[in-house]
């Protein structure tokens, strides 16, 4: 007979669930409101979502203070794991979401924002991501991942035009394949160790001294493939440009940040211990991944004619760049990952928001995609401030000091240097130079070309509203004055990462 289970409520540490529950509750509230009274304006939902996200954010602050006091926290039958990585990544996830959601209040109407479900799904997605990062149980990771992914596919499709459906279908199908790969990988690890918790897997593997190295590698391969898809590492990146192009600019910006940080955290949990245990193969493979992803994506970004697509490839390249942090696997590099990503979120969200600001519904004849380079020709003449801000974002992405991403780059390259990855550091540096070309290309168009006749500059701000401007302002300030925040950020991140044992 089964023995009855006695669990004390305190030992469950239900607090650990609080941050994830808030967005889920929020989503349910939105659904209920919609049921009670339909046809309410989107601004209500935006503000509601914002409120819930802020609450979410504050609970994460709460748990971060607990973490600072007590260290890593396990909860609810040890499924939940609140450590520094979880907290930091949740900060990024929720913070970026807070910055994203007001973008729904665009001047023009778009299909997805007419649905209250959009906001509900959005909150569910955030909940999913939060679960994904706040656990080391592969099952919960999987479920959280799928929850958020399914919501994300829908959010993309809800933009409701051909390209967005195409994007959603592509993303979905490849995601399904990735899910298969993930489960296969998890299966191998389970077969090896009888556990699906990363810490236990690590412990068991270490205990038997990686006797079944071939098995381990099989598991790593499938896991790596699955995460490479999520992180858009070449050659698993093929979805990224199409999906970014197909979705709205705001959503694309969001996608370049939040899903990836979640995936990075899981990848960090999963691969870090392997690298530290001396799985040289993984090191080699990650090295190849990092270099190929950075370089190839950069090279493809060079030849793009559409800014959004260029930014998509650039995001791929940045992901490859940051992947180096996992390869290096020191406290410094892992801190650099978070630092980089926080700075990257500001800049990238800002630049995608600028595209969002200039979104047209009907393209003029000479323009063959939403955000082709020509569209921005001579922007400085007609809307100088917008052009300057966009220029700053581009410079930041290129890594020109003192803008935000420079600091991330420096710290990350420094971590490579510190760990003896000299060649890697050089390749990272030179890739930044290649990347410089396409960022500068946009600056060239904006600042040095003559505007196309009939362009009065209105289109650059056609979609602008106060909330959008505010978000862009915040992103711009964050990008320009990042240097003031680097030190506290760095200290905060480093202590969190260090205290989580990474």
């Amino acid at each position: 007979m089964l023995a009855p289970v006695n669990v004390s409520l305190e030992s469950l540490n239900l607090m650990t669930l609080a941050p994830m529950l808030i967005p889920i509750i929020g989503a349910l509230v939105i659904l209920v409101i919609d049921m009670l009274k339909s046809k309410l304006d989107r601004s209500l939902y935006v503000v509601l979502s914002l409120l819930f996200l802020i609450m979410d954010f504050s609970t994460i602050i709460d748990s971060s203070s607990i973490f600072m006091k007590d260290g890593t926290l396990m909860g609810v039958f040890d499924v939940m794991l609140i450590d520094g990585l979880a907290i930091l990544s949740q900060f990024i996830i929720v913070g970026a979401s807070i910055l994203f959601i007001p973008l729904a209040l665009s001047h023009k109407r778009f299909h997805e924002f007419a649905y209250p479900e959009f906001f509900a799904l959005f909150l569910f997605m955030i909940g999913g991501f939060q679960f994904m990062v706040a656990t080391d149980n592969l099952i919960l990771v999987f479920v959280g991942l799928e929850t958020s992914s399914l919501a994300l596919y829908t959010l993309i499709a809800m933009h409701n035009r051909d390209k967005s459906f195409e994007a959603a279908v592509k993303y979905f199908t490849m995601g399904a394949l990735a899910a298969g790969l993930y489960s296969f990988g998890a299966m191998v690890f389970y077969a090896l160790t009888g556990s699906v918790e990363i810490s236990k897997i690590a412990a068991v593997l270490a205990a038997n001294g990686y006797a079944d190295l071939a098995y381990v590698l099989i598991g790593v391969v499938f896991m790596l493939a699955a995460f490479a898809f999520k992180l858009s590492l070449v050659p698993f990146h093929t979805w990224a440009p199409d999906v970014y192009e197909g979705s709205s600019a705001a959503m694309a910006g969001y996608m370049s940040i939040v899903p990836k940080i979640a995936a990075f955290v899981v990848a960090m949990r999963l691969f870090e211990f392997l690298i530290h245990s001396g799985v040289v193969w993984l090191e080699i493979v990650l090295y190849i991944f990092v270099i190929v992803t950075m370089t190839a994506a950069n090279i493809w970004a060079l030849v793009q004619t559409d800014v959004k697509r260029m930014l998509a490839y650039s995001s791929v390249s940045h992901a490859g760049f940051v992947m180096a942090a996992i390869l290096i696997g020191t406290t410094q590099s892992n801190s650099a990952l978070f630092l980089y990503w926080i700075l990257f979120s500001f800049t990238n969200l800002g630049s995608f928001s600028m595209l969002w600001l200039s979104r047209q519904k009907h393209l003029p004849a000479h323009q063959n995609s939403d955000h082709s380079y020509d569209k921005f020709a001579g922007m400085i003449k007609t809307s100088p401030i917008a052009a300057t801000i966009m220029g700053v974002f581009m410079l930041s992405l290129a890594g020109i000091p003192p803008f935000a991403l420079f600091w991330g780059k420096v710290y990350l390259i420094s971590s490579a240097v510190t760990s003896g990855y000299t060649v890697l550091a050089l390749i990272m540096a030179l890739n930044s130079a290649i990347a410089g070309y396409y960022y500068v290309k946009l600056i060239v168009y904006m600042f040095m070309k003559e505007p196309i006749i009939g362009n009065d500059g209105h289109m650059y701000v056609a979609n602008a509203t106060k909330p959008l401007r505010t978000i862009i302002g915040i992103a711009a300030i964050g990008t320009i004055f990042a240097f003031l925040a680097i030190n506290p950020l760095l200290e905060f991140i480093t202590s969190f990462v260090y205290n989580s044992g990474y």
């Binding site: 099952i139 459906f165 298969g180 296969f184 699906v196 030849v303």
Partner: protein, 101 residues
């Protein structure tokens, strides 16, 4: 002839490979989704087998969640297909390459 864990793992792998074949060669999206189901199902066998041989329930749990995930995916996938089909009257993925390069 004792059936060991390896047998199941091999079977699972073979089924997984079949799934991969399907994923790669199917051009009809609906049939392509079938292949992804096969992928997930093949893994489920392995999970159940490992669970059995280790006398541990975690594998079954995993398989259970995998089934749930597969089911959800079907819902979303079909939703997407319906929208696409409404617009274009086809679910052949070769018609779906407006974005490239």
């Amino acid at each position: 002839m004792e059936i060991g864990l390896n047998h199941y793992l091999v079977l699972s792998t073979i089924l997984f490979a079949i799934g991969l074949i399907g994923v790669m060669r199917r051009k009809n999206l609906l049939l392509l989704f079938f292949a992804t189901e096969i992928l997930l199902n093949s893994v489920n066998i392995a999970f159940a087998a490992i669970s059995h041989y280790y006398g541990d329930l975690t594998g079954q749990m995993f398989a259970f969640f995998v089934i749930a995930i597969a089911a959800s995916e079907v819902a979303v996938g079909l939703g997407l297909l319906i929208v696409w089909h409404k617009r274009h009257g086809t679910i052949d993925l070769d018609t779906m390459s407006t974005m490239r390069g």
